[in-house]
């Protein structure tokens, strides 16, 4: 029987599988229709093998600059026993990749990679079964190397994957019981394979979203209102008539844009265009931000942990302490502003976007345009790092409206002020904590309240900017992430009550930014933990270990302390009077209380006279279970630390009553080379454990470690992020 027509029994015996006779017609009718199987339980959704032997992996999760493009290949290469350079990866194409959810929450490896791994294991078993039949052997007599199945006792008898299934579909369901390879036999997973994209990125050969061009494409720019809630009254088109290359001024409600033959003409037109807007002053007074947060009506209370009776235990504690922590509004601060190319033709849309959620974006655009989703295809291309939902989705909606207006492909590149002003932002967080110690200095009571926005539901979100301005419907697919996470303390206190007040509104469109909520909540919890350690006169590491009932967590914390050369003593440091004080601070977290363990020691120098803080060294111990690519994890930890030192020391959105006033890098400074600390990373490798996320967890520990180090250095507690010199100076003065 011809192998291409063969149907056979897979190894489990129960599953009848057949590789499809002909490749599916890739020329689907609607532009957005599936070009191949996409169901999450379908092996073909994740994998194909070409006649050339190339294994193609289809990933709904995309590489946002974190290196998962390489790590996902490693997972597939390992499980299928093919060479790494024979694996290709398609990312974030609504017509070709399964909807594995947005690329968020440090889940690309933990969830996306594990799905791909199981699909590969299922495929491998089916390929072995097919080879067994072809070679007249049983699966147990076979071995696979470099994508070729051979008889163990007669290697001349072989069948390559390409011969068995090349260019055809598997047509089998992902089987959760398909056996996975023993991690002890791994040769690809667990190695620091070099990133596949770096050579092209350092030579200008790579095509970023911002570099992407299509034939006949025009350049668009948007003109946003000068106040966030203003509406458009009138446009004076005569103000731009002389600009060479200008094609059209596009107005739809309060959505305003220009389209031109050249990028420079579009920029000049956007600058010159005279428009009249209504006045709007709906933003709160910046200096009263946290009072406003506290006074905002609460939509609902979420109890994230209740154990024992915290109120009663506080009442009977030997010593009690209370503190309030505040965490400011941050920008994603992508170095390349958001960009998209939209091609609207005959009621159908092809869109290229750096969105971290192409499937979600498609649904949002379908709602905005009142179109069936299969009329829309969204293809991911790398943008600058986004670290959460930045402006890419909004820029996409802008490009769509402009392309629809002019009937040609339009590229929209946001300017720097568009990005700073209009990207959705990390919401402000307010936390109030109460703790009680017994006579031996142990925590017997812990009560915490978190004021955070309510928007965590997909049905209850924040619309695209263009949809809002143009008065078009929105599907509300945005949300600021599960920002309640890590509000519950991860220690074994006998009496705990943690509550999140989900407030109705927040001043700016909220978004998730790297480590959303987990960073703010861990910051408050772990700084307060340090306050209690100091009140108990205990060493901060020993104090944490005393309350930690988690051996793996304790091991991580000890690893960080050991690597940092931590010598036990209480904070603050005694008797230091130097003009520049030095200190060290520790933090521990189990991410979301269920996965990656991180411990961190930060070392700082504090200039007493000015309050200027310099972070000199940050040591991190990191246990994310099985590590796919150690150098990739290290890079993520380094990046998390440096980015979060920047957020903690320097970053704070500014605004007036109408608009964001942090509209460039001068008014929203981030950390520069001379200010960057040395980052020292220890990875705790556990190859037999499930792989957990690494893209976010090590950011969670940084703000509190710095707060604790400042306290150690000068005995003053700063409780508002960022720790600007003025705030540190005020905290120091308060201690004198």
């Amino acid at each position: 029987m011809d192998a291409t027509r063969r149907e056979f029994l897979a190894g489990s015996g129960a599953l009848v599988v057949g590789f499809s006779l002909v490749a599916r017609d890739a020329q689907a009718q609607a532009v957005g229709a599936a070009a191949k199987p996409l169901a999450l339980d379908d092996v073909d959704a994740f994998l194909s093998v070409g006649r050339d032997g190339i294994v193609r992996v289809y990933s709904g999760k995309v590489d946002l600059g974190t290196g998962t493009r390489t790590a996902l290949r490693q997972i597939a290469a390992e499980e299928l026993d093919v060479a790494l350079d024979r694996v290709d990866l398609v990312e974030g194409d609504t017509a070709r990749t399964p909807d594995q959810g947005p690329t968020w929450g440090s889940l690309t490896i933990q969830v996306g990679g594990v799905q791909i791994r199981q699909a590969a294991a299922t495929a491998r078993r089916a390929l072995l079964a097919a080879a067994a039949e072809r070679l007249g052997a049983s699966s147990g007599d076979l071995e696979v190397k470099y994508g070729v199945v051979r008889l163990k006792n007669d290697p001349t008898k072989s069948a390559a994957y390409a011969e068995l299934v090349g260019d055809r579909e598997f047509r089998i369901k992902v089987d959760k019981s398909a056996p996975l390879k023993d991690p002890a036999t791994y040769t690809v997973v667990g190695t620091s394979a070099k990133r596949v994209d770096i050579p092209a990125k350092v030579t200008g050969e790579f095509t970023y979203m911002q570099d992407f061009r299509v034939p006949g494409m025009l350049h668009g720019r948007v003109i946003r209102p000068p106040a966030l809630g203003a509406t458009l009254v009138s446009v004076d088109e005569s103000s731009v008539t002389g600009i060479k290359g200008l094609v059209r001024v596009v107005r739809e409600g309060s959505f305003l844009g220009v389209v031109a033959e050249s990028e420079w003409a579009a920029i000049k037109a956007a600058r010159a265009l005279k428009a009249t807007w209504t006045a709007w002053e709906g933003l709160p007074d910046m200096d009263r931000l946290y009072q406003v947060v506290r006074a905002t009506p609460v939509a609902k209370d979420e109890e994230t942990l209740k154990r024992g009776d915290a109120v009663a235990a506080l009442g009977s504690a030997a010593k009690t302490l209370s503190a309030t922590y505040e965490f400011g509004i941050h920008l994603h601060g992508s170095i390349g502003p958001s960009c998209a190319v939209a091609d609207w033709q005959d009621g159908q849309l092809m869109l290229w976007s750096a969105s971290q959620a192409t499937h979600w974006l498609r649904r949002e655009l379908a709602a905005m345009l009142a179109l069936p989703a299969d009329r829309i295809r969204v293809q991911y291309l790398d943008g600058a790092g986004c670290y959460g939902r930045n402006g890419h989705e909004d820029a996409a909606a802008d490009a769509v409206l402009l392309s629809r207006a002019v009937g040609r492909p339009v590229r929209v590149q946001w300017m720097r002020h568009d990005e700073h002003g209009w990207e959705p932002k990390g919401p402000p967080t307010l936390v109030e904590l109460h703790g009680g110690l017994d006579a031996s200095g142990n925590i017997v009571a812990w009560r915490s309240e978190f004021w955070i926005p309510k928007l965590t539901l997909i049905t209850d979100g924040v619309p695209l900017v263009a949809a809002s301005l143009a008065g078009l419907p929105g599907r509300d697919a945005q949300n600021p992430g599960n920002i309640f996470q890590n509000s519950a303390p991860g220690y074994a206190f006998p009496n705990v009550h943690a509550v999140c007040h989900r407030v109705e509104t927040t001043p700016f469109r909220p978004s998730w930014i790297r480590t959303p909520g987990r960073m703010q909540n861990t910051y408050a919890n772990e700084a307060f933990m340090d306050e209690l350690a100091a009140a108990a006169g205990a060493d901060p590491v020993e104090f944490r270990l005393r309350h930690l009932n988690d051996p793996r967590g304790a091991e991580t914390l000890k690893a960080a302390a050991r690597r940092a050369g931590w010598t036990p003593r209480p904070s603050p440091r005694k008797g230091a009077k130097a003009a520049v004080a030095t200190g060290r601070g520790v933090t521990y977290v189990k991410y979301e209380n269920v996965r990656t363990y991180v411990a961190c020691v930060a070392e700082v120098e504090v200039e007493r006279a000015t309050g200027a803080v310099r972070v000199t060294r940050v040591v991190v111990a990191h246990d994310c279970g099985q590590i796919i690519n150690p150098d990739g994890v290290r890079a993520q930890v380094e990046g998390n630390v440096i980015q979060t030192v920047s957020r903690t020391l320097k970053e704070e959105l500014k605004w007036d009553r109408s608009m964001v006033t942090s509209l460039d890098w001068k008014s929203y400074p981030i950390l520069t080379f001379p200010e960057v600390p040395r980052v020292d990373v220890e990875l705790l490798s556990r190859p037999a454990e499930p792989p957990w996320g690494a893209g976010e967890p090590s950011a969670a520990v940084v703000p509190s470690a710095i707060s604790n180090a400042i306290f150690d250095a000068v005995g003053a507690r700063v409780r508002t992020v960022p720790f600007t010199p003025a705030r540190v100076q005020a905290a120091i003065r308060a201690t004198i």
Partner: protein, 153 residues
């Protein structure tokens, strides 16, 4: 019409004279190395070399370039034959999203031309005006140091 020498090739282009060099390189010459980051000379991602000097192409009108030779990231090397600085960035895996890396490599190349064996401090100072958001700084400094010790850098 404006004549520009870019990466050793002369081009005559019909562009408005006030167009920033960046857009001419990206849109008219289809180069991907120099990036738009801010248009304000604040971030460095648009950096190119003009007669060996690192400049911000986003605020340099094309009419001001004159006879100066423009070198972009593409003019240094290719992935098949990378420049020692590019090779050093590959060896140190000194990119995350990689969007800022053009500016890092061009600024560092200009630094080494003047200061062949810079200290860490000199490298950090030279790159102080180049912003990186992913936090790749430590690897970038290591890459520049590596390039400085590589023959031909």
């Amino acid at each position: 019409m404006i004549t520009l020498t870019v990466n050793g090739t002369s081009h005559t282009l019909d562009v408005e004279p006030d167009t920033p060099l960046l857009y001419v390189l990206r849109d008219d010459l289809a180069l991907h190395g120099p990036k738009f980051g801010c248009g304000l000379a604040q971030c460095g991602s648009c950096t190119v070399l003009l007669d060996g000097v690192a400049v911000r192409s986003c605020v340099t009108p094309v009419s001001a370039v004159g006879a100066k030779k423009v070198v972009t990231l593409e003019g240094l090397g290719t992935s098949a034959r990378p420049h020692p600085m590019q090779q050093a960035f590959i060896d140190e895996q000194a990119a995350q999203c990689g969007y800022c890396v053009n500016g890092m490599i061009m600024s560092a190349t200009a630094l080494l031309a003047k200061t062949p064996n810079p200290s860490d401090r000199q490298i950090r100072q030279a790159l102080a005006g180049n912003l990186c958001r992913c936090g790749t700084h430590q690897r970038i400094v290591a890459a520049v140091k590596r390039a400085a010790t590589t023959k031909g850098a």
